[in-house]
């Protein structure tokens, strides 16, 4: 790891350190009153629980891992995973999908398989609220009683720092999607690239602790690679709200400089000031520079999944709005026994990554199982961030980072045991590229196989 990168990690950690994770800001008071019924007002079509019921809302990298490991360590638990989608689409590897390096099948997985193999129930519905007093999750397909509740809804987009009106926001969501949440967004971006005839393709990098720090930079590399290979007279313009690439900066900078000189323009400190969709112009940075674009994928700020706010378990923190108001070690909502928030919706300044959510899910599953079996908690274990980023496709060349986290009291002190592999050239880079695919396959096995 070089000095520059230590400093970059330091910057994120310092910001994290200012955010004491429990006290602070606008935590809504716990509301235990029985709310007027929302949802169907009838029971969900599920057989009676055969053991303590653990309901997990959100079948992403977090929820899938919590569901599997709760059931694994407490086989008597009745685990129900509530997920609004009918198929799992992986965000990791989706950048390779955008440029045709993997097919949709590689990143698409089957919720029924995960449930069948790991002996829990997959319940296809949207959660729309909770009744904490009665311990009921309301869903679009009926009410579910719970003894333990995990909310893992991931992120939502927060366009408010851009000061755009709702009509513009709506256009941004549909015409220029970020591609950091739903599979539909990825498909839109893929078809944009397939039709792209030339000019600037803008991608933005938000401030705050956004989902997957390296992914926008990875995407820039892959799109540039695609332009280069397909002889498209286009350029990826990266407007970064941060002062420099937030992670693996040496690897990305050198890839831009050496491989994509004519295809990538990196603009640091370029927070979006305004967006003119009619004239396809963006004003960014303190000097209010103007950038024209032919097409774009605008990645706004992130916030905690809306569900947390609806359920009254969210608070603002130093980085983002409306993330879980939880104890950083147990993931339990402050003041609410046995309601947990995990994954990218957590407020801790961890890297919002699939690997982090997965390793945290192993821990939380074990913790809930221990509560069920012995009414005890387990010793805190740091989540693990292992993250590979492709810098070119077919053949894939990649760079990577590995890190854990440490606390001072209840305050996150930052990253620890950080190791970087930023060599994308030659055999090392190619091996990193192979490791990226092996990483993904292993992760899918972890979530979908027994």
């Amino acid at each position: 790891m070089n000095r520059r990168d230590i400093l970059k990690f330091g910057a994120i950690s310092a910001a994290a350190a200012t955010a004491t994770l429990t006290g602070c800001t606008t935590a809504p008071k716990p509301d235990n009153s029985v709310k007027p019924a929302v949802g169907m007002g009838s029971k969900a079509p599920l057989p009676a629980a055969k053991g303590p019921r653990v309901v997990i809302v959100g079948g992403g990298w977090s929820g899938l891992s919590v569901a599997k490991y709760t059931k694994k360590f407490a086989p008597n638990a009745d685990v129900v995973l509530v997920e609004q989608r009918t198929q799992f689409h992986s965000c990791p590897i989706s950048n390779l999908y955008l440029v045709g390096a993997v097919d949709l099948e590689f990143i698409t997985h089957d919720y029924l398989q995960a449930a069948r193999e790991n002996k829990y129930t997959y319940f296809n519905a949207s959660a729309i609220g909770i009744d904490k007093a009665q311990k009921i999750v309301k869903t679009t397909n009926g009410d579910i009683d719970y003894d333990y509740l995990v909310l893992s809804p991931g992120i939502d987009y927060d366009y408010s720092p851009w000061n755009v009106d709702l009509a513009t926001e709506q256009r941004l969501r549909t015409e220029y999607p970020a591609g950091f949440m739903s599979p539909s967004e990825h498909m839109t971006i893929k078809s944009k690239l397939e039709d792209f005839e030339g000019g600037n393709f803008i991608i933005t990098v938000p401030g705050g602790n956004y989902r997957c720090l390296p992914a926008p930079y990875e995407r820039a590399c892959l799109i540039a690679d695609y332009f280069k290979k397909n002889e498209i007279d286009g350029k990826v313009l990266i407007l970064d709200a941060n002062h420099d690439i937030t992670i693996k900066s040496e690897g990305f900078h050198s890839a831009y400089d050496e491989m994509y000189k004519d295809y990538v323009e990196y603009v640091p400190s370029a927070a979006i000031m305004s967006i003119d969709l009619e004239n396809k112009k963006v004003i960014a940075g303190e000097l209010e520079d103007e950038y024209e674009f032919t097409d774009a994928a605008f990645y706004p700020h992130v916030r905690g999944g809306k569900l947390l706010e609806v359920c009254g378990v969210a608070k603002d923190n130093a980085f983002n709005k409306m993330e879980g108001n939880i104890d950083p070690f147990t993931y339990e909502v402050i003041g609410e026994k046995n309601i947990f928030v995990a994954g990218d919706a957590r407020p801790m300044g961890y890297s919002k990554s699939g690997n982090t959510s997965n390793s945290e899910g192993h821990y939380l599953g074990k913790l809930i199982a221990e509560r069920i079996l012995n009414n005890k908690d387990i010793k805190w274990k740091s989540p693990l961030t292992v993250c590979y980023s492709a810098v070119s496709a077919m053949p894939n060349h990649a760079i990577s980072v590995r890190a854990e986290y440490e606390f001072k009291g209840k305050t996150l002190a930052g990253f620890t045991n950080v190791e970087l592999s930023q060599e994308w050239r030659g055999k090392t880079g190619e091996n990193n590229g192979k490791a990226l695919m092996e990483w993904a396959k292993g992760m899918y096995r972890d979530m979908f196989n027994a």
């Binding site: 690997n355 390793s359 693990l384 590995r402 190791e419 592999s421 192979k434 092996e438 096995r445 196989n449």
Partner: protein, 241 residues
């Protein structure tokens, strides 16, 4: 009776759970917990000649298929004697004792190559799990001379029955229980610790078809002899960080 046939008879017993009293110190397993005997198999070279422990190159990754045709195991002659009588724990909390390396120096160890995390394993195309020499730094942990799975960077202590040092691995690799005979030959006799064989055969059906002509063939127990080859000769790419 010919030597070969003699071994066949012994091997014919197949897999049994060995009662604690049957296990000798030679087997390097302790009290039968999480120990499973498989065919007694001699390690040989490409020409079928016995491998001699004293001829092994230290710190080289060697591969042999055991206990099944489609499961590769890694053998290493470490530069020093391993620890002995190491207490290990499986993911489900079962404890067992790993007795230590074998050979004159007590330095020869073997482990299943299936990573206890998500089953990354040595295969012919590319291998992400292997022992990293003492001179090779790894991203997985500050120590060197460890087994590393580069898939999600788990590190295992090969001197201590592959106890997990870092990363997401929830339990040690399954140990291959070896015997070292007076004539310096090496034998594999069983597996100690929680293995992943069942999950492995299920998850890698299509890969096994490609490599071994089908899951059924891959699931056959290795009999009599197993060829020991250097990992570098077995796999196209050894991928490590």
């Amino acid at each position: 009776m010919q030597r070969r046939e003699f071994f066949k008879v012994v091997a014919g017993v197949g897999a049994v759970i060995v009662a604690p009293s049957l296990i000798t110190t030679d087997l390097r397993a302790d009290d039968g917990r999480l120990y499973k005997a498989y065919n007694k198999v001699q390690l040989v070279d490409g020409d079928g000649n016995p491998i001699l422990a004293s001829k092994l190159v230290e710190e080289e990754n060697y591969i042999f298929n055991y206990p099944f045709v489609g499961v590769s195991s890694i053998l290493i002659a470490l530069p020093e004697k391993t620890e002995t009588n190491v207490k290990l724990k499986s993911e489900s909390g079962e404890e067992y004792i790993w007795k230590g390396g074998i050979g004159k120096k007590g330095n020869i160890v073997a482990y299943s190559s299936i990573c206890s995390h998500q089953m990354t394993h040595v295969n012919k195309a590319e291998s992400f799990i292997s022992y990293q020499k003492r001179c090779q730094k790894t991203m997985a942990c500050p120590r060197t001379g460890v087994m590393v799975c580069a898939s999600h960077l788990s590190a295992y202590d090969v001197h201590k029955g592959s106890e997990v040092i870092s990363g997401p691995a929830p339990q040690p690799l399954a140990s291959i229980v070896l015997e070292h005979h007076d004539d310096d030959t090496l034998w594999a006799v069983g597996v100690l610790g929680a293995d992943k064989f069942h999950e492995f055969f299920k998850a890698f059906k299509s890969e096994l078809k490609e490599q071994y002509g089908g899951a059924r063939k891959a699931k056959k127990k290795v009999k009599d002899t197993a060829q020991l080859v250097a990992l570098a000769d077995f796999t196209k790419d050894i991928i490590q960080y």
